[in-house]
Symmetry: C2
Subunit: 180 residues, 2 copies
């Protein structure tokens, strides 16, 4: 049993999603824990945004106690300026992982889609639908939160073949808005 926190990094909106991976001789299933987004204050500078991300993720990690982190490594098709920004969000999360001693793995968006939807060119909505089905959620999580859950399951699906089995997940996406 492994608790995995998936993170879809961004400096304005960051998606997070946590699952528990249960593996036995009948296969693998994922239990839903929590998902949501972290919104950073509009008009804030980068240090302030990353500070909010750092504090909120630390809080989430203290609550959900993941054993491992999984991060999306997307930057294809971006220009240098937006790659730099995304890098900053990723660097903050990576430093946090190092500080907290949590192992962190990275997955390309196509790998995540391959595992969750079955092919690498799935749309955001395909991912939301599949995540809802796999975790038996009552409603679809927001795109960023669904991505984060998909990243967590992509990480957890290495090893025994992926057999999504009913889990008593609740759809309770949290929207951690942080006041300036």
């Amino acid at each position: 049993m492994t608790r995995i926190l998936g993170v879809d990094p961004g400096t304005r909106v960051l998606g997070y999603g946590a699952v528990v991976r249960h593996a036995n001789n009948r296969g693998l299933r994922f239990e839903y824990l929590e998902c949501g987004v972290v919104r950073t204050p509009t008009g804030a500078d980068m240090v302030e945004r990353l500070g909010v991300i750092g504090r909120t993720l630390t809080e989430i990690i203290e609550e959900l106690r993941p054993d491992e982190l999984a991060l999306e490594k997307a930057f294809h098709g971006r220009n240098a300026a937006s790659a730099l920004k995304l890098g900053q969000a990723r660097g903050a999360i990576m430093l946090l992982a190092a500080q907290l001693g949590l192992p962190l793995a990275e997955y390309a968006p196509s790998q995540v889609k391959q595992v969750v939807v079955g092919h690498g060119r799935a749309t955001k909505h395909d991912v939301q639908q599949r995540v809802r089905l796999m975790l038996r959620l009552r409603k679809e999580p927001s795109a960023d939160a669904a991505d984060a859950l998909a990243i967590a399951m992509c990480h957890g699906s290495r090893g025994p073949s992926l057999v999504p089995v009913p889990s008593p997940g609740r759809a309770r996406p949290k929207d951690r808005k942080v006041a300036r």
Copy 2:
């Protein structure tokens, strides 16, 4: 009197340089404190590298007790992949600044060169020579450490006009190599 730590970010080699800014009615002078480079372990993954950067910078900050941080914001002419890497180093440093409650300012390389050398197209060696003269060092610091000192002085030179006055600086560049 303000203690300023300049940082030239990078994921393999990171330059740092600390000065004390003394301002009075005769002008502004900088006193040299320390400079050096942080080298991250060859072959290490990004989380490990950023962890080393985070721990070593925390140690440096605890020793040198800067009031303010200054960071170079360079990414022009880079492709998305190297901008992403540089962003990661910057994001880790920015999170650290937020965690430690230290104000952080950013300067483009051309601004730094303008202040230290007098024009924005100076070479690395021009910067090394000028930094040595301005801080009365016995020898030139390495390029990365000199850049970091130049960034710190660029930050400190806002306000009263820049008048480099003799300071009893010692050339004692530290090379913080961190064993894997």
